[in-house]
């Protein structure tokens, strides 16, 4: 799975909902090679404004069409610029980067929130036909446009919203203990807000369920060279989120 940095033709870049876009580009090699949990590092502009690349998790691949997709939320300058690209434009991507999720499990539970659901979507597709379930949390119903996408790849979808507009009112942590007690999961995957992942990892540890977390840190190189993105390891040694991660076993890192 060699890394490449190339200009790739965009096949789609469209608004899904409330400032969240789906961007696809044509890159057959990656569509075949990339694994859930990996990310691409996208150059936004030819000029130096913005200067650095932006990392986005791979949200899906289509080996038939050779497409690779990411789902991004507009949060600042880089992501705003991205929205201006159209099908047919070219985009400079570096990837596929990072350590993917470990897939050795039988009965996985996915727990995600916000844009953390993007890598979990790709993961859920690849875990099929294993009976994966997903617990997703959001502020309101609007944030959980993801349900349709997960419906086809997960056996069960559990939902919490802060305002109760969809699923149970509250946060994922409120629902998790009951869910873990009810079913015999042998793996938890989590990606989303830091506080959420902390709680998930804690519950997993208590029940001795193996758990993987996917972390985010600002990145410059994405290649393990610049040490912008390191996080603390449980062993006191630092880990690079871009190459040792972004996916870690929950016991590897200090959350």
């Amino acid at each position: 799975m060699p890394k490449t940095a190339e200009r790739m033709p965009i096949t789609k870049n469209r608004l899904i909902k409330n400032g969240v876009y789906e961007l696809s580009f044509h890159m057959p090699h990656w569509a075949y090679d990339a694994r859930p949990g990996q990310f691409v590092h996208i150059r936004i502009a030819d000029s130096c404004q913005p200067l650095l690349r932006r990392p986005f998790s791979i949200a899906g691949t289509d080996a038939a069409t050779g497409e690779v997709s990411v789902i991004y939320r507009v949060v600042g300058q880089g992501t705003s610029y991205l929205t201006q690209l159209k099908a047919g434009d070219f985009i400079d991507c570096l990837g596929p980067l990072g350590r993917p999720f470990d897939l050795e499990c039988e009965r996985p539970l996915l727990v995600g929130g916000g844009m953390g659901l993007a890598p979990l979507l790709f993961l859920a597709r690849v875990l099929c036909p294993r009976p994966a379930e997903i617990l997703m949390g959001g502020r309101t119903k609007e944030e959980l446009f993801w349900t349709d996408r997960f419906a086809t790849v997960c056996e069960n979808i559990h939902i919490t919203t802060d305002d109760g507009s969809l699923g149970q009112r509250g946060v994922t942590a409120d629902v998790l203990p009951a869910l873990l007690a009810a079913k015999q999961f042998d793996r938890i995957y989590t990606c989303g807000p830091h506080a959420m992942m902390q709680k998930v990892a804690q519950s997993a540890r208590q029940l001795a369920i193996s758990c993987q977390v996917s972390l985010e840190e600002p990145m410059a190189c994405g290649l393990g060279a610049c040490l912008s993105c390191t996080c603390e390891g449980q062993d006191g040694k630092r880990r690079k989120v871009c190459t040792d991660g972004p996916v870690f076993w929950s016991w590897e890192v200090v959350l």
Partner: protein
């Protein structure tokens, strides 16, 4: 590319385009994307006597046409470098330069002794890191302490010694002349400019370390100016860097007097920058009817 072959302070390079310390890891990280044998030289991440965890908190911030970093010299320490990393670079036909940082002049000397091993083409003495509390920048801003560090390294090493200067000084020429007098075999500049950014939502500094080093295209005019000032004032070769993205940027540094250049931040944007800048230089020389890069060095016309 014989047009580009150069020798800087005894270091033989296929091209005068090096990878700057801290921006290219140990080279190996870029191995899948660049043919390392085509890079002029690899200056590895700043190395200290003991392993260093670096700074806590956020380490980079983007700024207009630049970035701030406060890595804080995270590195595995000189022993691991020598035992684990250098052997992995041995198969490549590229000069490896080790960038060293100490808390005292003596530590620099100890590092130099410890690095008297095969597989190293030169030492780059970092007296200009803005991201560590002791040493670093402090040495680089005073002529006498800068000179003391250089003498100490020279006393403990048979390798060519490149001294990397800080731009955060009133008189860069004075510092350059002081380190030249102390025995520097070459001078590289610029390291990063000390800067700061504040998150106006959280009201906290963006960087965990509060201040960080500014690099990238934003600093190029300052870098070109300092290279020009220093190259006119010293006899040892000058290695220029600061904001180089394209071959055109690099040409500015050669005209200003640099005998080689280094690519830093641009590696993050374009992993092949070192090699592509060299290719661009080759084309520029051809277009100008020049047969060797040395014909550009210091050729800025001042009337």
């Amino acid at each position: 590319m014989s047009r580009l072959q150069v020798e800087i302070a005894g270091i033989q390079m296929k091209t005068p385009v090096m990878a700057a310390s801290g921006t290219f890891g140990f080279g190996l990280e870029y191995g899948e994307l660049v043919d390392l044998n085509q890079v002029g030289a690899i200056v590895v991440k700043g190395t200290t006597l003991k392993p260093k965890p670096g700074n806590a908190g956020r380490r980079i911030a983007e700024t207009p046409a630049g970035m701030l970093n406060a890595i804080g010299l995270e590195n595995p320490g000189v022993d691991e470098l020598v035992a684990q990393i250098l052997p992995r670079l041995a198969p490549y036909d590229v000069p490896v330069i080790v960038n060293i940082s100490g808390n005292t002049a003596e530590e620099y000397g100890q590092l130099a002794s410890r690095l008297d091993v095969p597989g190293i083409a030169a030492l780059e003495v970092n007296i200009s890191c803005p991201n560590v509390k002791q040493g670093g920048l402090a040495f680089g801003t005073q002529c006498d302490s800068a000179a003391a560090v250089v003498s100490e390294v020279k006393r403990h090493s048979r390798l060519p010694v490149i001294v990397k200067l800080s731009p955060n000084v009133t008189d860069i020429v004075a510092v350059a002349q002081a380190v030249e007098a102390a025995g520097a075999d070459a001078i590289s500049l610029i390291n990063t400019l000390l800067g700061m950014a504040i998150n106006i939502q959280s009201r906290r500094p963006v960087l965990g370390n509060i201040m960080g080093g500014l690099s990238g295209p934003a600093v190029k005019p300052v870098a070109v100016r300092m290279v020009w000032q220093v190259a006119r004032a010293v006899r040892v070769p000058v290695i220029g860097m600061g904001g180089i993205v394209t071959a055109e940027d690099a040409v500015e540094f050669f005209l200003a007097g640099a005998r080689a250049v280094a690519i830093g931040t641009a590696n993050f944007v374009n992993p092949r920058a070192t090699v592509q800048v060299a290719e661009g230089l080759e084309n520029y020389l051809a277009s100008q009817g020049l047969t060797h890069i040395s014909q550009l060095v210091g050729q800025v016309i001042l009337e």
